[in-house]
């Protein structure tokens, strides 16, 4: 964390100076990544961008397991946001997830596959259309994106495909949901194995009203473990529906109380 803050220090300063006015010009990347300008152009469009330390990006400084690097992004300090993108600049497929919180808290956690040492960033789009970006470097031995999923060492990886587990934790009235879905999340970069991954997760309330939705991409780790928060005031069961790029649909009801 200390390293992350040190790295972000410059960016936070810029963000503070920028408060109250949108940046059209490119701010300097506090992570000094060679790919930042590409990432901005490809993922964030032409809108204003600020580096903003109010977004929490929690991840290990070094990946112990290149196939499973945990991270948590919390943009709650910004108030409501339209979208949160999480991406790793130097991964062969940079974009990890694209979260539209809707009525859910602007908080998301999961794990990703890392191919080499890379900045890991979260970009939150506020209601005025400004991207707030924070992040850190994650060091890694690498190879996580081109290694076959562990499931392929099993005799039949389809046997338990789509099995889910869910737990609910109370956080001062908010409910934090941790949900895992058994899925190989193949990137398409391992030899002979086509891309096969969950690409959409929807969270609905007991009445079938959409609370929030998440687009997930190839770098999300095998058997995705997703964490999100339901604000106080939403009760009953919620339904989480995931769909992969082959059109398989996995559905799970979670009781909030």
């Amino acid at each position: 964390m200390i390293t992350r803050r040190a790295l972000l220090g410059h960016g936070a300063g810029v963000a503070a100076l920028a408060a109250g006015r949108a940046w059209g010009a490119a701010p300097m990347d506090p992570l000094q990544s060679v790919a930042w300008e590409d990432m901005r152009a490809l993922l964030l469009g032409k809108g204003p961008v600020v580096f903003d330390d109010r977004i929490t990006v929690a991840a290990p400084m070094a990946a112990e397991d290149a196939l499973q690097v945990p991270f948590l992004v919390d943009a709650g300090a910004l108030g409501r946001v339209q979208r949160i993108l999480v991406f790793a600049d130097l991964n062969p497929i940079p974009l990890i997830l694209d979260f539209a919180p809707g009525r859910l808290a602007p908080l998301i956690a999961t794990r990703f596959k890392i191919q080499q040492a890379t900045p890991l960033r979260a970009a939150a789009l506020d209601l005025k259309g400004t991207w707030h970006v924070a992040g850190q470097w994650v060091d890694a031995m690498g190879g996580g994106c081109t290694t076959p999923a562990l499931a392929h060492g099993e005799a039949d990886w389809t046997a338990r495909l789509g099995e889910t587990e869910a737990r609910v934790f109370d956080r001062d009235g908010r409910r934090r949901i941790r949900l895992s879905i058994r899925h190989p999340m193949d990137t398409g970069l391992a030899a002979g194995i086509p891309a096969f991954f969950i690409e959409k997760v929807m969270v609905e309330d007991a009445g079938g009203i959409l609370l929030g939705e998440l687009a997930t991409f190839e770098p999300v780790s095998e058997n995705p473990l997703l964490t999100f928060e339901v604000p106080a005031g939403i009760g009953g069961d919620i339904t989480v529906t995931a769909r992969d790029n082959n059109g398989n649909i996995f559905r799970r009801k979670v009781a909030l109380s």
């Binding site: 590409d38 490809l42 993922l43 979208r83 993108l85 062969p92 497929i93 940079p94 974009l95 694209d98 539209a100 392929h152 005799a155 039949d156 990886w157 389809t158 193949d186 398409g188 002979g192 194995i193 086509p194 891309a195 096969f196 690409e199 959409k200 929807m202 939705e213 687009a215 991409f217 790029n245 082959n246 059109g247 398989n248």
Partner: protein, 588 residues
């Protein structure tokens, strides 16, 4: 890097703009009317068979007997990676986009002018798929804004035509029991209709109708008597009468895979589906005719009810699937009257003409040089068997280790004609049959059913009948049963046929050539070496005033897996996996 970046961005845009994976709405929807008019609309190929009746005839005549020598390749498209073998697909052409399927349940959308890939769908297959006869696929179907195909793990997948994203995916059976889909689906009245494979594993063949929009089951029709169909997911009527032609509970594992799909005749409003051999191969274990195995069925697409049936090989003992395509055509009788007829060239070596309204037998004529198992057909359409050519009953002994007496008989189990579709020419009124001359040693042995295990009870080895050729392309007159001409090919023919208004017959060879023949004389007029065996069906269309031809190349299929002594004829063929597109350039 650049490629993956682009992909990620495209995905991000989609994910937010259209969580339901709808397309951009630019593609012109394909309607039922478009599909029914496919034969006349020369600018596209909307159906497997170039028309619902499956005639594989195009009225185009820019390329004719004179000009065909000027046909040149325009572009070629690789199916990539290591998955090269076994390409039996017929492409579709819709609004300047080619949709072509490949081995291992893949599909591509390609710009028809440039050969540029627009998208690829690469289905994630389980390790345990059990296709009997290679990892092939025969083609797609288009309707509305979607393109459909069946997968080796027995799913029907609907993709958005513009994006290649899955709109819906539906497992129609359990691949672990041996089911798989290799046929091209058919679109009729807003339904996707498909058959299924797995006859070698003791499955029960069915025809399935799914709602094209949602993938929900509209009806299913099992083809083995005693089994009950469904309508809207609920049990409907029984097929035939239980135990009328089967003993005990054998109908529950009776085979009859509908693995080659079917055709549709708008005039009678009937679907025509063929059914595979009965299970197991050992016919001594299942006395009776074993209906409706090795048959042609007419099915009402509205209800899924069987309207008529005709069994080409009652009580089959040679793996003579009855799946081969039934093609509707006008039969001119001697009295000058025209009958709404349909014809099929069966695995068993006979070419059948039926009244397609009633299923009434009209004629059966041999199209191969030997048909040992039956001398012919009687007036009622029943084969006159030659009992010496049925493999012996294992309980009577005659073979080693409890096996029955072995016999040598022709055609072999790969058939006088296999899956590769013949074509009918509206020019000549002839059918052009890709046939093969081979026999087999075959013997029966005891077997019991086990889920997901081969259910044969027979052993076999194929032998060519002639030194210099196995394949023969034959022009058959359906009115007389006479062969008008034939073209011999050393390797077995395994690709489909196309006829054109320009008086040409196109087909491919495992040696790698796509060839054009004079439809009246059989004279070879043009050929091109595609680099790997052609075991797929050619198409033609016109674009910007020029006529195009396309064919998929990529040696594979059942012959290299099951061909026995035929290996000597085919072992030097190299693998490929390409879509080749040709045209006759406009004179400038």
């Amino acid at each position: 890097m650049a490629t993956t970046f682009r992909r990620s961005v495209a995905a991000a845009t989609l994910a937010i703009a259209a969580m339901g994976f709808a397309g951009l709405g630019h593609a012109k929807p394909v309607t039922d009317k478009d599909i029914l008019g496919d034969v006349e609309s020369t600018g596209d190929v909307l159906t497997y068979g170039l028309g619902m009746q499956g005639q594989r005839f195009s009225p185009l005549k820019l390329i004719d007997k004179e000009t065909v020598k000027g046909v040149v390749p325009v572009w070629a498209f690789s199916f990539g990676g290591e998955k090269q073998r076994g390409q039996e697909s017929q492409p579709l052409v819709v609004d300047g986009v080619i949709y072509v399927t490949g081995s291992y349940s893949r599909m591509w959308a390609i710009d028809a002018k440039t050969g540029k890939e627009l998208w690829e769908y690469n289905h994630r297959l389980p390790d345990g798929i059990m296709p009997c006869c290679d990892v092939i696929n025969r083609g797609a179907a288009v309707y509305g804004d979607k393109v459909y195909f069946g997968t080796l793990d027995a799913k029907v997948v609907a993709l958005n035509r513009e994006t290649g994203k899955v709109v819906w995916s539906k497992a129609i059976e359990d691949y672990k029991a041996g089911y798989s889909i290799t046929n091209a689906p058919l679109i009729v009245n807003g339904m996707v209709i498909t058959g299924i494979g797995g006859g070698e594993f003791g499955i029960v063949g069915k025809v399935y109708a799914l709602d094209a929009e949602t993938g929900e089951s509209k009806w299913t029709r099992p083809v083995i008597e005693g089994n009950v169909g469904t309508v809207d997911g609920k049990p409907s009527t029984m097929t035939g009468t239980k135990n009328a032609s089967w003993e005990g509970d054998q109908w529950q594992t009776g085979g009859g895979g509908t693995w080659l799909g079917g055709t549709y005749d708008p005039k009678t409003g009937l679907l025509f589906y063929g059914t595979g051999n009965p299970s197991p191969w050992n016919s001594w274990l299942r006395p009776g005719d074993n209906l409706y195995s090795s048959s042609r069925l007419a099915i009402d697409p509205k209800t899924g009810e069987i309207k008529w049936s005709y069994q080409t090989t009652p009580h089959d003992g040679w793996d003579f699937d009855g799946v081969n395509e039934l093609i509707s055509f006008p039969l001119k009788g001697a009295d000058g009257k025209t009958i709404d007829a349909a014809a099929t060239a069966d695995r068993n070596g006979f070419f059948f003409v039926l009244d397609r309204t009633t299923g009434k037998f009209i004629s059966a004529s041999p199209f191969v040089s030997r048909h040992d198992w039956a001398s012919g057909y009687d007036d009622k359409g029943r084969p006159i068997y030659n009992p010496d050519f049925r493999p012996g009953d294992p309980s009577k002994g005659g073979g080693a280790d409890g096996k029955g007496k072995s016999v040598f008989t022709a055609p072999s189990f790969l058939g006088g004609k296999n899956w590769m579709p013949m074509a009918y020419s509206q020019n000549t009124g002839l059918f052009y049959i890709p046939s093969n001359e081979w026999g087999m040693d075959i013997w029966n042995e005891p077997i019991t059913y086990r889920k997901g295990a081969a259910y044969l009870g027979a052993g076999f080895t194929i032998k060519p009948l002639y030194e210099d050729h196995i394949g023969v392309l034959r022009a058959m007159d359906p009115a007389t049963g006479k062969i008008k001409w034939e073209y011999k090919n050393r390797a077995p023919l395994w690709g489909g046929v196309l006829t054109t208004g320009g008086g040409l017959v196109f087909t491919g060879t495992p040696e790698g050539y796509i060839k054009a023949f004079d439809d009246e004389t059989g004279k070879e007029l043009w050929s091109f070496n595609t680099g790997s065996g052609v075991v797929a069906s050619p198409i033609t269309w016109d674009m910007d005033g020029e006529q195009y031809i396309a064919v998929v190349s990529g040696w594979g299929g059942a012959v290299p897996l099951w061909g026995g002594d035929v290996a000597d004829y085919v072992k030097s063929f190299n693998q490929g996996g390409m879509l080749w597109v040709f045209k006759l350039p406009r004179k400038s």
